[in-house]
C-alpha cells in the first residue's frame, strides 16, 4: 500500500534504475530466484548450498544443505511454500519450507530424485508434476511427485529427426497457475535450435503440438511473457530472438526483433522479461569487459537503459515485479547486485499544509481570504463531512492488484528458526 501514497510519477516507472544494494554471499552464487511476492530471494551456490535471503533485512533467513555440486536452477512452487532445486550433482530436490524450525534439526528435502546426468534445470508443471532437462538426453523427463515415477516426453514422430539434446523448458502461462485439471503447455529448447510445444495433462497423457527450428545452435534460454504473447530465445549464436506467439493451431511464431551486440559480438549469459505483456527485456552480456545489464523496449527493440554499478561480469538475472527489483549475480565474486527504484522522500508529507512546488508562485490574495466570518466555510466543511460519513466503506477487501497491476497473491511466510537464533547468539 505504500506505493499508493507515493508520487505516482516515481512509482510507475517501468524498470529499476539504480544499484541500491549488494549482497556478499559466503559462497559464490550461481542462480537466483525471487519468491512470488518478492519477500525472499533464493540463491543457489557453487558448492550446492541454497541460501534464502530475507529481502527486508537483506540477511540470510535460512540455509538448505543437501546438494554437493553447483545449483543450476531454483524455482519456487506454485503456492510459494516449496522450492525446486536442480544441481550438477545429478539430483533434483524439492524442499518444503514449512518444515523450517520444527522439531527436525536439519531440513531435508521431501523429494530427492536421482538421474543419470547433471541437471540443466527443473520446472514445476503443477503441484504434483515437474519437468526436468538432463545433460545429453534428447527428451525432457516428467516426474510425478506423488509416485516419483519418471517418464520421457517423447516426440512420436514418424521421421525421427536429430534435434539434439533438450537444454531447457518453459511453462506457458495459464490463468489458474496451480489447477491440476487443466492441460498445461510446455516448451522445450534443444541444443540444435529446436523448440517443441507439448500439451500435458498428466505424466502419461500428453500431445506434441508443434516443433520448429529457430537457429542452428544451443538454445540457452527460453522465456514466455506473462500474457503469453511473446517468446524470447537466447541462443549461443550471440543473438536473442524475440517472437510474437500466436497459440492457434498450428502455433505461429513471428520474428519481432533480434538483439545482437554488433560491435563486440557478445553472447548473452541470461535474459528476463518484464511483467504482463513483457514490454522490457533485460540481458547480461558475456565477456569480462562488460559489467552492465542491457534493457530493451520490446515493441521497438531499442535499448532504453544500461544498468550500471556492478564491478564484474554479470550472470544470472531475476526480476521481482512487486518490489520492482532486478537482481543479478557477479561472475567473479558471486555477489548479488540489486537494482531498484529510488523514490525520493516527500517532505511535504510531514506537514500536510505545505505544498512542494517546482518554482516560485506569485502570491495573489483572494477576494475573501481574510474575511472575518468563515461561517460559510464551516458550513461547507460540515456538508463535506456529512457526505464522507455517509459513503459506504469496505474495511476488509484487499485490492486484487497492486499499483503496478501485479496480482496480489497470499504470501508464504518462512517460519522463524529460533534454534538458529540461539546458535548465532552463542557464537
Amino acid at each position: 500500500m505504500n506505493l499508493l501514497l507515493q508520487d505516482p510519477f516515481q512509482v510507475l516507472k517501468e524498470y529499476p534504475e539504480r544499484l541500491v544494494h549488494t549482497i556478499n554471499g559466503p559462497v559464490k552464487t550461481t542462480t537466483i530466484a525471487f519468491s512470488h511476492n518478492g519477500d525472499y530471494l533464493a540463491t543457489g551456490c557453487l558448492d550446492g548450498t541454497i541460501i534464502i535471503y530475507d529481502m527486508d533485512t537483506m540477511k540470510p533467513a535460512t540455509v538448505l544443505n543437501g546438494h554437493v555440486r553447483a545449483i543450476q536452477r531454483l524455482q519456487w512452487g506454485p503456492h510459494g511454500d516449496l522450492l525446486l532445486s536442480s544441481s550438477r550433482d545429478m539430483t533434483v530436490k524439492v524442499w518444503d519450507l514449512k518444515l523450517i524450525g520444527n522439531k527436525f534439526d536439519i531440513v531435508t528435502p521431501i523429494h530427492d530424485l536421482k538421474f543419470n546426468g547433471p541437471i540443466w534445470g527443473a520446472h514445476w508443471i503443477n503441484d504434483n508434476l515437474i519437468i526436468v532437462s538432463i545433460l545429453e538426453e534428447s527428451f525432457a523427463m516428467m516426474i510425478d511427485l506423488i509416485t516419483e515415477r519418471k517418464s520421457f516426453l517423447n516426440i512420436d514422430n514418424d521421421t525421427p529427426l536429430d534435434q539434439g539434446y533438450v537444454l531447457n523448458c518453459e511453462l506457458y502461462p495459464s490463468s489458474s497457475p496451480s489447477s491440476q485439471q487443466d492441460d498445461r503447455i510446455i516448451l522445450t529448447g534443444s541444443s540444435k535450435g529446436w523448440i517443441n510445444f507439448f500439451k500435458i495433462k498428466d505424466i502419461d497423457t500428453y500431445e506434441h503440438l508443434f516443433g520448429t527450428r529457430v537457429c542452428s545452435s544451443n538454445i540457452k534460454h527460453l522465456l514466455v511473457s506473462q500474457n503469453g504473447e511473446r517468446l524470447v530465445v537466447n541462443c549461443s549464436d550471440r543473438s536473442i530472438r524475440q517472437y510474437h506467439l500466436n497459440m492457434v493451431n498450428p502455433i505461429e511464431l513471428t520474428l519481432e526483433h533480434k538483439y545482437q551486440d554488433v560491435i563486440n559480438r557478445l553472447q548473452w549469459n541470461d535474459i528476463k522479461f518484464s511483467n504482463h505483456a513483457a514490454e522490457y527485456l533485460v540481458a547480461s552480456p558475456h565477456g569480462s569487459s562488460t559489467h552492465e545489464l542491457y534493457l530493451w523496449e520490446t515493441t521497438s527493440g531499442s535499448l532504453v537503459r544500461v544498468l550500471e554499478g556492478a564491478e564484474e561480469e554479470l550472470m544470472a538475472i531475476d526480476w521481482d515485479f512487486k518490489g520492482m527489483k532486478i537482481a543479478s549475480t557477479g561472475l567473479e565474486t558471486g555477489d548479488i547486485y540489486l537494482w531498484s527504484l529510488v523514490i525520493q522522500p516527500k517532505w511535504s508529507a510531514l506537514a500536510p499544509d505545505f505544498e512542494e512546488i517546482e518554482e516560485n508562485i506569485d502570491y495573489q490574495e483572494k477576494e475573501d481570504e481574510f474575511d472575518d466570518d468563515d461561517i460559510d466555510d464551516e458550513n461547507e466543511n460540515k456538508i463535506i463531512l456529512t457526505k464522507e460519513e455517509d459513503t459506504p466503506i469496505d474495511l476488509i477487501t484487499m485490492d486484487p492488484c497492486d499499483v503496478r497491476g501485479n496480482e496480489q497473491v497470499p504470501s508464504f511466510v518462512l517460519p522463524i528458526d529460533y534454534k538458529s537464533i540461539l546458535m548465532v547468539q552463542r557464537l
Binding site: A349, V413, Q425
Partner: protein, 328 residues
C-alpha cells in the same frame, strides 16, 4: 452481542501494580498480561489452570507486550529503555534490544514476524531485526512520545505511528520515509490546543485507520485520501454524564470483524473503552450504537485486544475480562 465468559485476572486488594495492557495470542488461546517486571500468561481453553509466570530481565515495569505472528514469542517494552524478545514455550530469552533513550511505550510486529517496531518516549520509532536483534532504522519524526504503532495485517509496507504531539504519521517501512500525516488540524483551530493521540488500529485491508485521541474521540480515517470517514461519538444520554467530560488516559480501542453474525457480510465493529470502565461498541458502517459493556470496575479501561469474536479487556487495577460475541 458480547457476553462475558470469564474473568481470568482479578485485581487483588494488596496489589499496588498498575496494569497497562492485555494481548490475545494470534491463535486466540492465550492472553498475556504484564504485571510489573513479570509476564502472566493465561490459557483461555483451560480457565482453571494457574497462569504461567515468566520473569524478565527488565529493571523497571513493562508497559507493552506484543505476540509474534507465529504466536511463539512475546516482545516486552519496558520503562528501563529496553525491549526483550522471549520465546514462550521453549527457548526463553532470545534478545535484549537496547537503543532507546527513553521508556519504550509501544511495540508492533510486522505480519511476517521478521521485523519489530518500537515507539518510545524518546520520540523515535525504531525498527529491529528479530533474527539478530540489531536496530535497522531509527525514525525521528515526532516531537513528543510515540505511544501507538500499527501495521496492516496483510501488508508490511506501511506503518502508522501516533504520538502525544497530536500527529498520526504513516511511514514506508522499507525506506523510513514519511508518506503522509493525518492530523487533527481543524480540531486544533477551534480548541486552540493539541490533542494527543493515544491509540491506532489499521483496518484489515489497511486502507483505513482507526484513531483515538486523549479527548475520547474515535475517528476512522481513509489513509489514502487523508480524510475522516467516520466519527464515533458517545450517545447523548451518556454525554451528559459528568465522567465523560473528564476523559483520562485510560482509553483503548479495538477493531474487530465478528464472524458469527447472522448476516452474510462480516460485521465490523468499533469498540472503545472509557475512563469509568465502560466499553461502547458501534457498527462501523452506520455508526449505530450497538452495545454498552460495563465491566463493573470504576477504573479506566487500559487496553482492548480483539481476535475474531473474542475480546480481552483490562482495567488499570488489573481486572481482565474476556467477552465472546454471540448472536442473540
Amino acid at each position: 452481542m458480547y457476553k462475558l465468559v470469564s474473568t481470568p485476572h482479578l485485581p487483588s486488594p494488596d496489589n499496588n501494580h498498575t496494569y497497562s495492557t492485555v494481548q490475545i495470542s494470534p491463535n486466540g488461546q492465550f492472553i498475556a498480561i504484564p504485571q510489573g517486571k513479570q509476564l502472566q500468561i493465561y490459557d483461555l481453553n483451560n480457565e482453571l489452570l494457574k497462569p504461567k509466570i515468566i520473569q524478565t530481565n527488565h529493571t523497571l515495569p513493562i508497559s507493552d507486550v506484543c505476540w509474534s505472528p507465529d504466536g511463539e514469542c512475546l516482545a516486552t517494552a519496558s520503562d528501563d529503555h529496553t525491549i526483550e524478545i522471549l520465546h514462550v514455550t521453549k527457548y526463553g530469552l532470545l534478545h535484549i534490544l537496547k537503543g532507546h533513550t527513553g521508556p519504550v511505550i509501544t511495540l508492533c510486529y510486522n505480519s511476517k514476524g521478521n521485523l519489530l517496531f518500537s515507539g518510545s518516549m524518546d520520540e523515535s520509532v525504531k525498527t529491529w531485526d528479530v533474527f539478530n536483534g540489531k536496530c535497522l532504522r531509527t525514525v525521528s519524526a515526532h516531537s513528543d512520545s510515540v505511544v501507538s504503532l500499527t501495521l496492516p495485517c496483510h501488508d508490511d509496507s506501511v506503518m502508522a505511528s501516533g504520538s502525544y504531539d497530536g500527529l498520526v504519521r504513516i511511514f514506508d517501512t522499507q525506506t523510513g520515509h514519511c508518506l503522509s500525516t493525518l492530523t487533527y488540524d481543524k480540531d486544533w483551530k477551534h480548541s486552540g490546543r493539541v490533542i494527543p493521540i493515544t491509540q491506532l488500529e489499521f483496518s484489515q485491508n489497511g486502507k483505513f485507520l482507526l484513531v483515538k485521541s486523549l479527548d475520547g474521540a474515535v475517528k476512522l480515517w481513509d489513509c489514502i485520501r487523508g480524510v475522516v470517514v467516520r466519527t464515533f461519538v458517545q450517545r447523548e444520554q451518556d454525554k451528559n454524564n459528568e465522567w465523560w467530560k473528564k476523559f483520562s488516559g485510560g482509553i483503548a480501542i479495538a477493531y474487530i470483524s465478528a464472524e458469527k453474525t447472522s448476516q452474510e457480510k462480516n460485521d465490523v465493529l468499533v469498540i472503545s473503552g472509557d475512563s469509568q470502565g465502560v466499553i461502547t461498541c458501534w457498527d462501523t458502517h452506520t455508526k449505530r450504537f450497538l452495545q454498552k459493556i460495563d465491566t463493573g470496575q470504576r477504573n479506566p479501561i487500559m487496553n482492548i485486544s480483539s481476535i475474531g469474536g473474542t475480546l480481552a479487556v483490562i482495567t488499570r487495577d488489573g481486572c481482565c475480562n474476556i467477552y465472546r460475541w454471540e448472536e442473540n
